[in-house]
């Protein structure tokens, strides 16, 4: 089957979700939509189970941090409909004080580690996740290293200081 045109995809989503899902853009023909955490699981379930769309494949879950935004922490889902070869990107933004979002592990088993990685790097709390622990970093780490305020290197280290040239 051929790729679903983005207009059809937008219409199918708008019919079902009205204004709770907004279209952000179509960079490089990949439809990007934004929604809130109240609708994210409904949206994912709809995209996965709808007989015409069948976005059965979860390509990726990851996060992003925009410190200057009102809702700085983003969670980004990439879905892929293998039968129609269509991709879609879904974004959910969360407030810094309340980084809770429902888990997608009930829909895809593969979401487990992807969400753990997002938690580990960005501190997003996936409610209902069966095993939300750090995955790449050590368990007793307190910071979330992919947030923008976390420095790449310890600014206090002295071993790389050069007497003449500074750092």
């Amino acid at each position: 089957m051929a790729k679903i045109p983005n207009e059809e995809l937008i219409k199918a989503i708008a019919d079902k979700f009205d204004t709770s899902v907004t279209v952000v853009g179509e960079p490089y023909e990949l439809l990007t939509v934004e929604t809130g955490r109240e609708t994210i699981i409904d949206l994912l379930t709809f995209l996965k189970t709808d007989p015409a769309l069948k976005f059965i494949f979860l390509t990726d879950i990851t996060g992003i941090h925009y410190p200057e935004q009102e809702k700085p922490i983003g969670v980004i889902y990439h879905l892929h409909s293998l039968t129609t070869n269509t991709r879609i990107r879904i974004k959910v933004f969360l407030a810094d004080a309340d980084v809770h979002i429902p888990t997608a592990t009930a829909l895809w088993d593969g979401a487990n580690w992807m969400e753990r990685e997002t938690y580990d790097l960005f501190g997003v709390l996936f409610d209902g996740h069966p095993d939300l622990r750090r995955i790449l970093n050590v368990d007793d780490m307190t910071a979330f290293p992919m947030r923008k305020e976390f420095p790449l290197e310890d600014p206090n280290r002295v071993d790389k200081k050069d007497f003449y040239f500074g750092r």
Partner: protein, 403 residues
């Protein structure tokens, strides 16, 4: 260890024994730790711990210009670095709307398919070693060395290759590279055939691998498996065929699929993929004859570093050199997802750009990371010796697992 399910369950009266498989264990071929609960030889439950070689590549990438991220991608799947390099170049080219000449595409296809063969040689060879047959591995390794020598001619290095630049290659392929490539195409099929006759109908090997760790297509899809593992489970998803990049649409090749996703069908799928890769390389060589032999990069002076002689003798080249190095060339403020068929599955690059010299955010969709998460759940009820074979046929590369 807080909240660690296995450590809190260490009841001395229990009949079960706990085994630390890894982090350094000769049978795991890398730093993977699995804490297993064993009932005799049978695995009752397991917990995977990963992250032993986490190097924060995504964080480092936010502080580096685009062209300096290529060496980071080398160190993801270091058994097939050129695929990662090319995937990264193509992601940036997609972001910048750079069209590469056909000759560059075909040269890239050659390098990528060589990398796929090198990776599958290791995986299938090691699978043989883990089932007790060292010979096949020994025979095949000779040809991985031949592939590495081709890399050496192309880029000067062997394992972490850093082949190519954004827009093409840093230099043209020399004649020795093509000579070695032709020699490889002549010699390798014989060995591969021999390798197949050693294993494919070998009673011991088949008994050890058939129906071990069988995975249904539904489970594989639910766990987001890609690559040879998904295809062994019977789903014909191959990025090269579905979303052709680098002119893969010009080539004829089959996408082999297995029937029940067990270790044996993964082995067969990988073997068949090597044959298909050889086919693709031969077609690419034939196509290269029709292309002008002096083109090895796209004409994008804003992003492709000029040769040093020109920098010193030519004003435009000096200006471009300066602008590229200082990162003064504007890039589009947008986001892009590009994926290539890595040796282990869909290797994706999600790049969010804010117009600066380095990515605002770069995420690698690493197939090993996503494939490996089924390992502990699927080991339940398995014999320990089968779990070892299962791990080698998953072909998890530690660098790609931990990023």
């Amino acid at each position: 260890m807080q909240n660690h399910p296995v450590y809190t369950d260490n009841d001395p009266q229990s009949e079960l024994s706990t085994l630390n498989l890894g982090p350094t264990h000769p049978a795991t071929h890398g730093v993977f730790q699995n804490v297993l609960q064993l009932d005799g030889e049978r695995i009752v439950s397991g917990v995977s711990t990963i992250g032993y070689i986490h190097r924060a590549f995504e964080k480092i990438a936010e502080h580096r210009p685009f062209y300096q991220i290529t060496p980071l991608t080398d160190r993801l799947n270091y058994c097939s670095s050129p695929i990662n390099n090319m995937g990264w170049h193509m992601t940036v080219e997609k972001l910048l709307n750079i069209q590469t000449p056909k000759r560059v595409d075909y040269l890239r296809v050659i390098v990528m398919e060589l990398a796929r063969i090198a990776d599958h040689i290791i995986c299938n060879g090691v699978l043989g070693v883990d089932t007790g047959a060292f010979t096949g591995f020994l025979y095949m390794m000779e040809h991985r060395e031949a592939i590495y020598e081709i890399y050496e001619e192309v880029c000067g290095s062997r394992l972490t290759t850093n082949i190519g630049r954004i827009g093409g290659f840093e230099r043209n392929f020399n004649s020795r590279a093509f000579d070695k490539l032709r020699a490889f195409l002549k010699n390798f099929p014989k060995t591969l055939k021999e390798f197949e006759s050693l294993f494919n109908r070998n009673r011991i090997f088949v008994d050890r691998t058939r129906d071990v760790a069988a995975v249904s297509a539904e489970t594989a899809l639910s766990y987001s498996w890609t690559g040879p593992l998904l295809r062994a489970a019977g789903v014909d998803y191959d990025v090269r065929a579905m979303n052709p990049y680098s002119s893969y649409e010009d080539f004829e090749f089959e996408v082999p699929v297995g029937d029940n996703g067990d270790v044996y069908s993964r082995f067969l799928v990988r073997n068949e993929e090597m044959w298909q890769s050889l086919r693709i390389i031969e077609q690419a060589l034939a196509k290269l004859d029709k292309e002008p032999s002096d083109i090895f990069h796209a004409d994008v002076p804003e992003f492709y570093l000029p040769p040093k002689e020109e920098v010193y003798n030519n004003m435009e080249a000096l200006i471009y050199h300066f602008k590229i190095v200082m990162g003064e060339i504007p890039t589009p403020k947008t986001e892009v997802y590009h994926s290539v068929e890595g040796a282990n599955g869909e290797l994706g690059f999600y790049l969010v750009n804010d117009g600066g010299r380095s990515p605002y955010r770069l995420h690698f969709r690493r197939p090993s990371f996503i494939n490996y998460q089924m390992y502990a759940p699927m080991s339940r009820g398995m014999l320990l010796s089968d779990a070892i074979i299962n791990m080698s046929s998953l072909n998890v590369i530690a660098g790609e697992l931990d990023a």
